[in-house]
Amino acid sequence: MATATVENINKGRSKIHPQKFALIIGCASMMMMFVAFTSALIVRQAQGNWLEFNFPSIFNYSTIVIVVSSLTMHGAYFAFTRGSEFFYKALLITTAILGMVFIYLQYQGWLEMNADGIFLDGNPSGSFVYVITASHAGHLLAGISTIIMALLHAFILPYKVTPRRKHRFQLVVWFWHFVDFLWLYLFVLFLAAY
């Protein structure tokens, strides 16, 4: 009903779909939340009394995992549009698994920090890493839940490339790329700060 209205209005126009546009704007506002966290980190670091510690090396691996997952995600989308049902499903599952592996690696990273005596409630230098990575993991979990929705579509619905399914899949792909890009931004910043 509601979406029908939107699609009617947009019929015959080359404009970007409103839902996609809304997703981009939503991502911009999520980005601002992390910009706030990271600016707070930079400002706080400049004030001194800042505990230096070894940034967990496991985050390097999680970075590789999430970059690869973005590639497999895009591969799944290409396979979907080009009519390759097997690769579509296989790559989508791979992406979901890589996403979960990423969360697991982040958890290992927190354990590594914990083992080094860097706790959530210690010097803010450690707290920032916990808070920022956990907030990112929250967004990534939201991304995984959208992939699960896409998986349900892939395995329950008969395989068929329709504009509507393409559009829905694109929303999932775009959001996944966003959380991937977000992590790269955070990772580079962590490397610079620690």
Binding site: M1, A2, S29, M33, P124, S127
Partner: protein
Amino acid sequence: MADTGTITAPQKYNEETLIEELGYDDHFHDHHHGDKYQSSFIFHYIFSMDHKMIARQFLITGMFWAVIGGLMSLVFRLQLGFPEESMAWLKPILGGWITVNEAGIGTLAPEFYYALVTMHGTIIVFFVLTAGLSGTFSNLLIPLQLGARDMASPFLNMLSYWFFFSAGVVMFLSLFLSTGPFSGGWTAYPPLSALPQASTGSGAGMTMWSFSMVLFVVSVLLGGINYITTVLNLRTKGMSLWRMPLTIWAFFVTAIIGLLSFPVLVSGILLLILDRELGTSFYLSEIFIGGSALDHVGGSPILYQHLFWFLGHPEVYIIILPAMGIVSEVLSVHARKPIFGYKAMVYSILAIAFLSFIVWAHHMFMSGVNPFISNFFVIFTLIIAVPSAVKVFNWIATLFGGNIRFTAACLFGIGFVSMFISGGLTGIFLGNSAIDVQLHDTYFVVAHFHIVMGIAAFFGMYAGVYHWFPKMYGRLMNETLGRIHFWGTLVGAYAIFWPMHYIGMAGVPRRYYSFDNFQAFAHFDMINKFITVAAIIVFALQVLFLINFFYSIWNGKKLTTKNPWKASTLEWTTPINPGHGNWPGRIPTVQRWPYDYGKGGNDYISQITPEQEWEREYDEAH
């Protein structure tokens, strides 16, 4: 060339036939939808997804909060104006917050005074002037003035209202806590907000405050995503960006500001919650409380202030820009003149929006910010005076020589300009860090921001309510009561806040519960009494407005024409009581900009009227 207007263009066309001939068919009624969720009471009035219903929900919820916030200000004004009088008569309402001694004299508990001030600020800033103003009019006008059937996502729109409602429920419940609502100021600075033991309200009250604010931010973000998407994607044919009414420009830019600044508040509050609940040290350091140092190490309370004011300053433009847009539209319609300097108005909105992000630290001149960094913020703060002055000049130029109809809506529009000038000028004082150090913690600041963003925004809101009430309810509000409401409020508002400038310059500090122990301020007691009496009268006048509003919903004069104000924008081409989808048949297409008033001798030319041949000559000649 002034006589070229003898050809009377609009009469040739009938608006009905114009929409039929030039409108485009989006097959809206070929599909079976829409009325499904309008058919029952619950989905029509409560979980509505129709933007017009959601707008009314925002407005009436905003009114509820305005009454609560206003009554709170009366209670603390009574304390300030008449500290010796007994408040025992408030005992039935305020309960334990009034302590009555053996002689029967009731006094307001000092902690509750601070809770009242805090809640008054939080409620009016966020629930009334953000949700009640931008939520109401963005929802009502964006689809109607752009020629859209509804918002981009009616479902998210409904969620936006219900998140706002839930935020309100949490905040309302916090008023009934035995320890009271949060009482550390609406800005919730740590350590008062970060330490549960700091004051009575800092425990459960603060927990509920932060939870409520997070819900509120979700509401603003969902709303904002919708507003921006609708403006950029769902405009009807011919509605280019430069043909949008200034209201839409204002709501659009407001939504962008909100979307970029509110997430920063969430970050700030999230770190605050972690400091409170999990013992992190973002804002708390080893300060001494009750003789011993806290466990926290290395936190910086200034960090919170940066994060808070990065939202907080754009927030004042989130409040004032919609009011500016409404006033631009209302003044143009009721002065029967095109808005003066349309593009300058748009560019000044954009300039204000940009500058709003780089001036936040002017709220922190007293917080120990480096004076050299302060200079940067001083300069950009003062530059805001430029686009603001452009807007004021254009409003006055729009009124100048106009055939002004002094309706209640128009009067409130003019009142807005007056308030904005009065409050804006004192902003130039306060923007200078050197003067701000003297004035910051006095009533001068209270007077400044109440006039420029409190009263002015309320005036913009009233102008909008009186102007668009016919569109909301198909009836008119009582004009006589509206004018009494305006003149009383205008005089009364100046009576409240003008004297505050004097006592502020004399150094009377704000936030004080009582001045009994300060001989230096004793001779201001008459001024304080005067302010309190004026505040009570002004509040009574707002009750008059509410009576007028609710009486008119059911008993106001019924509209006999679709376009009572003879305005040229699209919302007045819809039926008197537009159903779901706004236009019963085709969607109108837009042929011209929205401010063709008095062109070539025509009173107004609707946006749906195509350009006439005489106009080409006329435009060249003018």
